[in-house]
Symmetry: C2
Subunit: 126 residues, 2 copies
DNA sequence: TTGTCATGTCATGATATTGTGATATGTTAT
DNA sequence: ATAACATATCACAATATCATGACATGACAA
């Protein structure tokens, strides 16, 4: 089956000697990581950045606030696609909007979003 | 290709008056966003952060370098799962590793990774 | 009211991703 | 060589995600 950690005590001298003993390392790092549900929430958040259409929208909105029709035009995408992605972005607290007559003017929620986008871009460009 | 803004010219006075005319806004932002292939690459990169298992691994490695078996144990995951996710993380330049005997010691590629992880965590916790 | 425009929601088929069992590779000790 | 161990790869079923067509809503003008 899989490796049962209870018998690690017998043979840990032979394993990963570059580190401390397994139990030490494992228990040390385990108590320093976030809770299960925070990882779930965080992965949902990052998932949003994992789609080129949404990234393009984020990129546009990092330049200036825009209404839906301008986003469609700038990206050459149909309205349904943009509207759906905006709904996802809204639901995940990545963009906010302001109704102005029949228009909706979208903008990024806060600077975290722009920061993450820009650090990511920097990373892939180096 | 060049947008069908031809019929926008007729009626743009009624639209988005809060902004400049549509053509102006659209052409202005269009020339300031990255190329198509960069969005593709960037979304692939961010996709990696969109999975709780991979985030947990990133979280662990932001504390200290670890071998595969310690990651399995700390996260209570089977070895195949961890190994698969490490392969994806490697392929996307998010972790690197060093073979030491039969062990593989993994670490984060650079500070961008830690930065993105931490800004994201900050964002969801506020 | 009727029509038109800007936007939002729902349903769906195509495609991608996930975790995992089975299996393979490579290392070290005996 | 054989065994035990650490890690990697392959294949696949379950699940999730994507773009889009069809339809709904809500604003404004005639």
């Amino acid at each position: 089956m899989e490796m049962k950690n209870n018998n690690l005590e017998n043979n840990n001298e032979g394993m990963c000697e570059i580190f401390d003993s397994h139990e030490d390392v494992v228990s040390r790092v385990k108590e320093r990581i976030p809770e299960e549900n925070e990882f779930a929430e965080l992965s949902e958040f990052f998932k949003i950045f994992g789609n080129p259409t949404r990234l393009k929208i984020i990129s546009l909105l990092s330049i200036e606030d825009l209404c839906v029709c301008d986003i469609c035009e700038a990206l050459d995408l149909n309205q349904t696609t943009v509207s759906n992605q905006l709904r996802i972005l809204r639901a995940n607290n990545i963009v906010k909007y302001q109704k102005e007559g029949k228009m909706a003017r979208y903008s990024l929620t806060d600077l975290h979003i722009e920061m993450i986008y820009k650090v990511g871009l920097e990373h892939i460009l180096e």
